[in-house]
C-alpha cells in the first residue's frame, strides 16, 4: 500500500507548536505564582465558598415598576455591622462587620458573603435584610453555608479524586499501549490541566473569579477529554505500525495526525457547541463551569494535535 501523502504535516510546525504551548504553560505558572504571592488570595487559585467555608446569601429585591431604589454596598455593610444575631449558647454572636456585599443588576440583587452562620442566624439575617433592603422576593432567596471543616473536606476530596483519576487513566493507557504513550498522554493531560488552572488564576487576579467544587469537576472532565483526544491519535499511529512500517516514525505521526485531524476538530467543535449553550443560556450557577470546560477542551484538542504526537518521535528515539 502506498503511503498517502498527508495534506498537512504537523512535524514541520512542531517548533511553533512547542513554543506556543511552552509560552502558555509559562504564563499559567506565572499566574498561579502571582496569585499565590497576592496577599488577598494567598493560594494558586482564588478559593470560593466551597473551600473557604462561610455563608453566602443571595437576595432579590422586588422593585416597583420604576426600578429599584438606590442602594449602595457600604450602606448595607454599615447596617450589617450594627446587627446582633442570636448566638448559640457558649458562643458569641457572629461579627457581621467584615461581611462583603455585592450589588448586582442595577441594585436588583444582592450577594452577601459572611462568616459561617447557623440556619437560625441565617434566617434571622434574611429577616433583618427585609428592613435594610426590602421588600425582598421571598421565592428568590438562596442561602449557602459551608462549615470550615467541610470546606477542608471538599478541597481534600477534590484533590484526591483528581489524583486518583489521573493514576487510573495512566494505568489503563499503559495496559492498552505502552509506557511512552502513557507518559505522553499524562504529559498532555498535565499541560491541559495546567493551562486551564493558569487561565483561572489570571481570571481570579483580574476579575475576582473564584474556584469551587464544580471547577474541580471540570478539571477532571478536561483530563478525561484530553486523554480521549490523545488516544484517538495514538490509536491511529499504532494501527499504522504494520502498514507503514518502512516509514520513519515522524512520517507515520504526520500521516496519523492528518488522518485524524478532521475528527479532532469536529469533535471539539461539537462538544463546544453544547458548552456555548451553557455559557449563553445556562445562567450564573454553571457559567464559570462551562468556561473552564471550554478552555480545557479547546486546549486539549490543540495538545492532541500539536503536542503529544510531535513529542512521540523525540521520546521514542531517545528510548531506543
Amino acid at each position: 500500500m502506498n503511503a498517502p501523502e498527508p495534506r498537512f504535516r504537523i512535524s514541520r510546525h512542531r517548533r511553533t507548536a512547542w513554543l506556543g504551548s511552552g509560552l502558555a504553560a509559562v504564563l499559567s505558572v506565572i499566574g498561579l505564582l502571582v496569585s499565590w504571592l497576592n496577599p488577598g488570595i494567598h493560594a494558586p487559585l482564588k478559593p470560593g465558598l466551597d473551600f473557604t467555608g462561610g455563608t453566602q446569601i443571595q437576595l432579590e429585591r422586588s422593585c416597583a415598576a420604576g426600578g429599584c431604589s438606590a442602594i449602595s454596598a457600604p450602606d448595607i455593610q454599615r447596617a450589617l455591622a450594627s446587627l446582633t444575631l442570636p448566638a448559640e449558647p457558649g458562643e458569641s454572636s457572629p461579627n457581621l462587620g467584615n461581611a462583603s456585599v455585592q450589588v448586582l443588576d442595577q441594585g436588583q440583587s444582592l450577594v452577601l458573603r459572611l462568616q459561617d452562620l447557623n440556619p437560625g442566624q441565617a434566617s434571622a439575617l434574611v429577616q433583618e435584610m427585609q428592613a435594610i433592603a426590602g421588600p425582598l422576593n421571598p421565592e428568590s432567596i438562596s442561602v449557602d453555608t459551608i462549615g470550615p471543616t467541610l470546606g477542608q473536606q471538599l478541597l481534600k476530596g477534590s484533590v484526591v479524586s483528581l489524583v486518583v483519576s489521573f493514576i487510573g487513566i495512566a494505568a489503563y493507557i499503559t495496559f492498552r499501549y505502552d509506557g511512552v504513550f502513557a507518559f505522553l498522554a499524562l504529559f498532555t493531560l498535565g499541560h491541559d490541566v495546567l493551562i486551564t488552572c493558569g487561565a483561572f488564576a489570571w481570571l481570579g487576579l483580574i476579575a475576582g473569579v473564584e474556584v469551587d467544587s464544580l471547577f474541580a469537576v471540570s478539571l477532571i472532565t478536561v483530563a478525561g477529554y484530553s486523554v480521549t483526544d490523545t488516544v484517538v491519535v495514538f490509536d491511529r499511529i499504532r494501527e499504522q505500525r504494520t502498514t507503514l512500517a518502512d516509514l520513519p516514525l515522524s512520517e507515520q505521526v504526520d500521516v496519523a495526525v492528518d488522518a485524524t485531524l478532521t475528527r479532532s476538530l469536529y469533535t471539539s467543535f461539537t462538544t463546544l457547541l453544547p458548552l456555548l449553550g451553557l455559557i449563553f443560556f445556562g445562567g450564573a450557577s454553571l457559567f464559570w463551569f462551562a468556561v473552564a470546560l471550554t478552555i480545557g477542551i479547546a486546549v486539549g484538542s490543540w495538545s492532541s494535535i500539536g503536542v503529544a504526537p510531535t513529542l512521540l518521535p523525540v521520546l521514542a528515539k531517545s528510548k531506543v
Binding site: 455563608t55 446582633t84 449558647p89 447557623n118 440556619p119 437560625g120 434566617s123 434571622a124 434574611v126 421571598p138 421565592e139 428568590s140 432567596i141 438562596s142 442561602v143 449557602d144 453555608t145 459551608i146 462549615g147 471543616t149 467541610l150 471538599l154 476530596g157 477534590s158 484526591v160 479524586s161 483528581l162 486518583v164 483519576s165 487510573g168 487513566i169 489503563y172 493507557i173 467544587s213 464544580l214 469537576v217 477532571i220 472532565t221 477529554y225 480521549t228 488516544v231 484517538v232 475528527r263 469536529y266 469533535t267 467543535f269 461539537t270 462538544t271 457547541l273 453544547p274 458548552l275 456555548l276 449553550g277 451553557l278 449563553f280 443560556f281 445556562g282 450557577s285 454553571l286 462551562a290
Partner: protein, 498 residues
Amino acid sequence: MARQQGWLALILALAIASAALVLNVPPPLGLDLQGGSQLTLQVMPSGAIKKVEKEQLESVKEVLDRRINGLGVSEATLQTVGNDQLVLQLPGEQDPSRAAKVLGTTALLEFRAQKPGTDSEMQGLLKLKRQATAALVQTEIKDSTDPGAADSAPVKIKAEELAKALEALGIAVPPGSSQTESLELLLSTVNQKIVALFEPSELTGKDLVGAGRQQQQAGSGWDVTLSFNRQGGEKFAALTKNIAGTGRLLGIVLDGRSISEASVGPQFQAAGITGGAASITGNFTADESRDLEVQLKGGSLPLPVKVIEQRSIGATLGTENVRRSLVAALSGLALVAVFMVVVYRLPGVVAVLALALYSLFNLAIYSLIPVTLTLPGIAGFILSIGMAVDANVLIFERVKEELRSGNTLIRSIDTGFSLAFSSIIDGHVTGLISCIALFALGTGLVKGFAVTLAIGLLLSLFTALTCSRTILRVLMSYAALRQPTYFLPATQLPAKAS
C-alpha cells in the same frame, strides 16, 4: 437482513418503552431545581466516644427520623453520608432554621433531686432567675415598640441590679454588649448554677413512653406532659417520695439547663407521685412546647450533631435553573444536529436520530434508577452528548476515508464501524475511569455529575455502535439511498474506472 430487522424492532420497542416511562415517571428534580433546603449534619464525637462509627451514626439517624416524623415535614428525606454525616433534604422549605433547631439539639431530659442543705442558695438563684426572665420580657416588649412611648423606669432599675448580680456571680460581660445580651448571659449562668445544686439522677428521657402538650388553664403558656414506662414510673415515684415535704425541689434539666423547678408536697411522703405521668411547667410558647414534645418523643441524641452545611434555594430560582438548563441543552443539541447533517449528509441524519434516541434513553434511565437531576447532573448529561457525537464522528470519518480510497459503500460502512471501535472504547473507558474516581471520592454535587456522565458514556457506546449502525444498514437496504454522494461530495470520490 433479518438480524438488522431484529435490532430495529428491539430499538423501537426500547424507544417506546422509554418514552412511556419518562412521561409517566418523570425523573425526580434535585433541590437546586425545585427549590428547598438541604442541611448536612456532622455527628460529633463526645465523651468516651472518640471516633464516630457506623452504628452510632445509624442510632443518631433513628432518633432524627422519629423527630422528622414528629415535625410533620412532608417529603423530608434523611440519608447517611460516609461514617459520620447525615444529609437532610427539605423540598420546598426555604427557611430550615426551625428544623435545624429541633434536629440539632440533644434533648437529654433529666429529673434531679435538689442536694440537701442548699435551700438558701437555691432561693437566691431562683429569685434572680425570675427577675432576669421578667426583665428580658420587658426589654423585648420595649425593643419591639416605640422606645419613646415605653415606660423605661422598671428597666432602668433592673440595669443597676443587673450589674450588681452579674458582678456577684463573677460574670465578665464582654464590652459593648446590649442589655438583652447581658440578661441572657445572666440567665444562662444562673441556670447552670441551679443545675449544679441538683444531684445526678437515674431518671432520664429514656424512661419516657410518650410526650404531649397542653395549654395552661391560667395564663397563655404551654405545659409539656410526659408519661413514663413502668420502670420510669417507679423511679419517678421513688425520687418524689425522697424529697416530698422536705422543701427540696425537683429539677427538670434539659441538655444541662434547668428548665423547671417544682416542689413536691408532703402528701406524697408515703408513696411518691405514682401513676407514671408528670408535666413540665416551663411557660413555653406554643412552638417551643411542640418542638420539645417532638424531641422528647423521638428520644435524645446519643451523640451531639452540628449543622456544617446549608443550601437553601427559593422555588423561583429553582424553576429558573430548570428553564435555563433546558434551553442550554436543547440549543446545544439543535446546533450539533445542524452541524452533523451539514457535514455528514445521510449518516448525519442517522446520527441525529441516534442522538435523539440517546437523549430519550438517558431520561428513561434517570426515571428508572432513579437519578435525582441536579444542575451539575444536567451539565454531565450535556457533556456526555459531546462524547456520543464523538463516537459518530469517529465512525463517519472512517467511512469517508474508506470511500475516498475507492471501497464500495457497504464495505466502507462495515470497515468504518469496526476500525473506529478501538478508539471509541479507549475514549469511553478513560471517561468512565474519571467518573468512578469522582463518584467514589466526590461529595453530593460532584456525585450527581459523575452519575449522569457515566450513564451517558455507557449509553453512547450502545447508541453509536448499535443504533447508528442498525439504522444505517436498514436504510442501505433501499437501493435509492445507496448513493455515495449521500455520504461525500462527488469531488472527493475517486474517479470511477470506466
